[in-house]
């Protein structure tokens, strides 16, 4: 079975083709297209959220790359939520219409389910069940994954996502926005002894996160200490606090569930200190940690094509009416 996946829930337009036998055949993001050629000179930043004009050129490109004709497609998957309703409706309308025109089934996919299943696109995928940490600019969530459609949210951020706290603190330190990776580089020459930031919500039970207070703490420190070395020292203390908090909660999640596999995805999973800390922590527990390749840690079409393949293969499909759900809890999903 060969499935097209369409992702338009927020900034990125991503399209991919997944084949049950040959696995991922092709995937593209809008940034990979010659924007000027396709847009007649529109400034790319302005077009960054203009999914309508990007989907069809991307679709043609991905089909050419996968050497796939319309007749080869046996199903269409699109992100139906959560996200911006207008952006979601673009993908949903085009995805549902294509499926109807081609006479194949369509399936609506939860964006976060795509992220949870993304590591299964890799060569040595984790077996179910596993604990997943999704940590990016938009999300910080711990989820127990028992199978496709069998998810239980263990904890999540009550305010800012970890990546957002990274990016905003980087901005406060004069590193531009988004500057999470730049903050990590600055932290490398920080003095570990100078500042100590709290580990929010680690001294009480539970697996929820809160990172907004760390941002405010960084503001206060920046206002009080203007020297250049202080910026590096604050970056150090901030990164330590976020990474430590994430590692403590992951450890707690593995212990509480008794599971041995941890999957980490999202842009922040590229952070070197986080990877070191999680490697040591899982090693101590005798557990394994898995990461999808970096390009599938951020929003992409491949994860939607894969999740769609799993659900379509199990016989799930949508009626002709399509929908978009801006606010949609993963706890509401069911197996196909």
């Amino acid at each position: 079975m060969r499935v097209i996946g369409i992702e338009t829930s927020c900034d990125e337009t991503g399209i991919a083709i997944y084949d049950g036998q040959r696995r991922l055949l092709a995937h593209v993001l809008h940034s990979q297209v010659a924007l000027h050629a396709e847009y007649g000179g529109v400034v790319p930043e302005l077009a960054s959220r203009d999914h309508v004009r990007k989907v069809l050129p991307l679709l043609r490109q991905v089909m050419a790359q996968a050497d796939t004709r319309a007749a080869d497609i046996q199903g269409v998957a699109y992100t139906a939520g959560p996200g911006l309703v207008g952006a979601l409706l673009v993908g949903a309308a085009i995805g549902r219409s294509l499926a109807w025109a081609w006479g194949v089934p369509a399936v609506a996919i939860h964006h976060m389910e795509g992220h949870l299943l993304a590591p299964l696109l890799e060569e040595n995928p984790p077996d179910f069940p596993f604990v997943a940490l999704l940590v990016s600019g938009g999300h910080t969530q711990l989820v127990r994954v028992d199978g496709v459609g069998r998810y239980h949210i263990l904890g999540e951020s009550l305010d800012d996502a970890a990546g957002e706290a990274f990016d905003k603190t980087a901005k406060l330190l004069g590193l531009g926005y988004p500057g999470g990776p730049a903050l990590a580089r600055l932290a490398a020459r920080g003095n570990p002894q100078r500042f100590h930031f709290p580990r929010p919500m680690t001294n009480r039970p539970g697996l929820d996160f809160s990172f907004s207070g760390l941002k405010t703490q960084a503001v206060n420190s920046v206002k009080q200490h203007q020297d250049d070395q202080a910026r590096a020292d604050i970056a150090y203390a901030f990164q330590e606090a976020v990474v430590d908090t994430l590692a403590i909660k992951c450890q707690r999640a593995l212990r509480e569930t008794g599971l041995q596999r941890l999957v980490v995805s999202g842009g922040v999973s590229a952070n070197t200190l986080l990877r070191e800390r999680l490697r040591d922590m899982t090693h101590e527990l005798g557990a394994q940690v898995y990461y999808p390749r970096l390009e599938f840690c951020t929003d992409n079409g491949a994860m939607i094509a894969y999740a769609g393949y799993q659900r379509l293969r199990a016989g799930q499909s949508e009626p002709l009416a399509f929908f978009a759900v801006p606010r949609w809890s993963m706890n509401d999903l069911a197996p196909p």
Binding site: C10, G86, K168, N220
Partner: protein, 160 residues
């Protein structure tokens, strides 16, 4: 409409309480289709904290995620919608067209907008501007109403 009031906020808890009072005042004052409130303040000033209190004051007690990444988070209170916008990530005000701002404005809703200056020229005029300024570790919150609704909200806030 040059009424301007200032409130001193010592800690996060006080910001939540102010937000809750404001939520109550807005809910009872806004009879017209839309109420638009702009929230001004630097990173970490407490704009989202004020909104969390606001939504709590209207009876919402779930998570109030920062909308920085998603640009807007919707909340439903019976027939009433609240949209919490955060335009921090906009690179050009014109992007509001792509995220469907005009569709949102068709609803009779309360709009709480962080970083409104990044949407300049594409946002409706505000009923009320709220400024949150740093006062060392504390905050100074000022209210500048621009319409009858805005004045009514501030007047209620003064007596609440």
């Amino acid at each position: 409409m040059s009424i301007l009031i200032n409130i001193h906020i010592a800690q996060e808890h006080d910001m939540l309480a102010l937000g809750a009072r404001l939520g109550g005042c807005v809910a009872s004052a806004s009879g017209k289709p839309c109420t638009v409130i702009f929230l001004h303040g630097e990173l970490g000033a407490g704009k989202t904290t004020l909104v969390r209190g606001f939504l709590g004051g209207m009876g919402y007690h779930g998570k109030v995620k920062s909308p920085t990444y998603t640009l807007v988070e919707p909340y439903q209170f019976g027939a009433r919608q609240v949209y919490h916008f955060d335009l921090y990530r906009l690179t050009d005000p014109q992007e509001l067209e792509y995220i469907g701002l005009r569709d949102f404005l068709e609803n009779a809703a309360i709009f709480l907008v962080e970083w409104p200056e990044r949407g300049a020229g594409h946002l409706p005029p505000p009923d009320l501007d709220i400024y949150i300024d740093y006062a060392n570790a504390a905050r100074q919150v000022s209210f500048a109403p621009h319409t009858i609704i805005g004045v009514e909200i501030v007047a209620q806030l003064n007596t609440a």
